[in-house]
Symmetry: C2
Subunit: 362 residues, 2 copies
Amino acid sequence: MARTRASPVDKTGIVSIAARLGVSPSTVSRALRPETAHLVRADRRKAIMDLAEKQHFSPNAGARMLRKGVNTTLTVVVPLDENIFFSEYYGRFLAGTLHAAAARGWGVQISTMRRNASSSFREAMQLLGMDSSGLIYLAEPLSPQQIQELKGFRRPFVLTKSTLPEHTNPGELDVPVVGVDNLSGARSVASLLLQLGHRRIGLLLGPAGSRDAHERKQGYLEMLQKAGALPRPEWVYSGPFSAETGRVGMGRIMTGPERPTAVCCANDEIAFGAVNAAHLAGLRCPEDVSVVGFDDGIWATACQPALTTIRQPLADLAERAVGLIVEAATNPARSRRVVLDDMPAPMMIRDSTRPLRPADRR
Amino acid sequence: MARTRASPVDKTGIVSIAARLGVSPSTVSRALRPETAHLVRADRRKAIMDLAEKQHFSPNAGARMLRKGVNTTLTVVVPLDENIFFSEYYGRFLAGTLHAAAARGWGVQISTMRRNASSSFREAMQLLGMDSSGLIYLAEPLSPQQIQELKGFRRPFVLTKSTLPEHTNPGELDVPVVGVDNLSGARSVASLLLQLGHRRIGLLLGPAGSRDAHERKQGYLEMLQKAGALPRPEWVYSGPFSAETGRVGMGRIMTGPERPTAVCCANDEIAFGAVNAAHLAGLRCPEDVSVVGFDDGIWATACQPALTTIRQPLADLAERAVGLIVEAATNPARSRRVVLDDMPAPMMIRDSTRPLRPADRR
DNA sequence: GCTTGTGTTGCAAACGTTGTCATTCCAGCG
DNA sequence: CGCTGGAATGACAACGTTTGCAACACAAGC
């Protein structure tokens, strides 16, 4: 039989409801949305709502997006890693993103970065951002070339500073960057240790490629140098952001004839490892050695002793990033200011730091 | 001045490209998609691609969705909680979801559950699922009434068993449910302790409302009863899924004249607390008391002693859930089978369990 | 020359919803 | 009674993309 034109009743969505009730689709559309519901007579609205409910109606997202021209979804690009959510950084940032987006009525799509570098980075971003109106990138660190490719990228886009190479100046980019003020944070803990009387201060630093590790190192060194308390080479150790690094590094540092009385770590995990190694070596923290971390993750207060550390304002970061995306998406005309937002990172003074004992005065 | 009709060149998207190149939008559309690219002459296609790139063109997602009628995005509903990603359950499940979705070329949208119960639960789900083709619900536990509201919910939907009340039989629902086989898991650890010779076994159980806690308790009790080793009332303690519960509970259990030689916990965190409390009380684990957990989270191997526990197959759960959604979405005709998938939960035997010492034989 | 086939293109009609504009109806007023 | 004004509704044209169908050009075969 010839494909006869379906009666309006068979159609999907709003049209079907309209047909069944003998009203126009416009009326149904108005009745169904709270903003326009006052335009339709109360009893009619009720009938429409009831039928919609009965038919399990839900409006076609595509049509709505198309018609309204907006799309209140943003995409967060993360690396594809099974344990990703347990890292302080990603976990807290993502939670903050959800929160910030929810507050604005926006949705969050999380996309993993495909490893295949077959296509260009820019193309990959295009594809990922396909059905959202902006991207927040917090996946693998970017190469200078990838950063080049981003020039002139049209859709709203925000980078986290951690994804940039050490020597890239965010100000030169075409893209807003949000980050943590590692420098001030590191300075302030170093300064705290100095105030507590410590002069022999060791450093357990992070991995070579990491911008965060680099900046924290700068902060520590700068402040120590200013006080004439630069650490001896054998008091400095670098490794991945892990407890293992803390354990191994602490082992090395503490075996020399003259030991540091305090240690600055590149993050909390390294600090945990350091405290752990100290205990195993028969040293108490903070009595024999003060230890400071960086992150203020959930374990910083849960462990023994509670860790003095720098709080990474990741929720603020996320809030800012979402704000930038939403602003750029809803107001594309306004030229995108190129910004670097370095969020202040407050110090949390807890139990792993203590004034230098007189006995340890040199 | 009268609003003159914009020339096609000013229009957005495909039409603008077509106009600039003097071809029809159809041709541009065909050229841009790999599936249809063979239909257009090679040199023309090249020109189109180049201009598209130059204009940073990206197709309108709404229009595409509307036209094609499909949408390869699914929504995961989570509670709005700042620490959500650090919980074993959510973190691992979500990572699994990302992975499974990515493998199918699907996107994942994460939505937080709005607290305002102003509208019905069903309505809330409708709203959340608005721009995706299916929902995985793993937020707050559902009330029986909310479950009722779900009957006949049209879009693809999957629940996790943990969100169901204790006494709801998943088989009765209209919705597929994925879960962990808590019962077998609990049985197997209890059985392990019995085989190691333990007879005086304490229980540190989870919170009252939790279905997982309930099922695990059932599993423990069932196996212990079968062996004639039901714990005395003073050896049983319940509380939230936290280390605190383990500490407090262990304190109570271990103060009596006759102490258990082993303890089953409702999850890893409780087990950590228990081990901690035991140490503080001068008891060693596993020498003086064996402890088993449930979850096999990242800390289970990182702590001292490494925890004997049950591995929750959360990645499998997520994989299954995503599979169900995708299947239902791409093949709506096929009637949705009502399923409960209880994934097997293997036992991980580590260092926190040990055969009963002869001295402790009753 | 006429047919048949093939490769390339354009036309126009969808897809489901929403906003603008016009229309109808009815109450209230002078 | 005629006019004004508001409330309620419908008709219709978008929104940007895809696709079935028709049209066209050109070559090959009779």
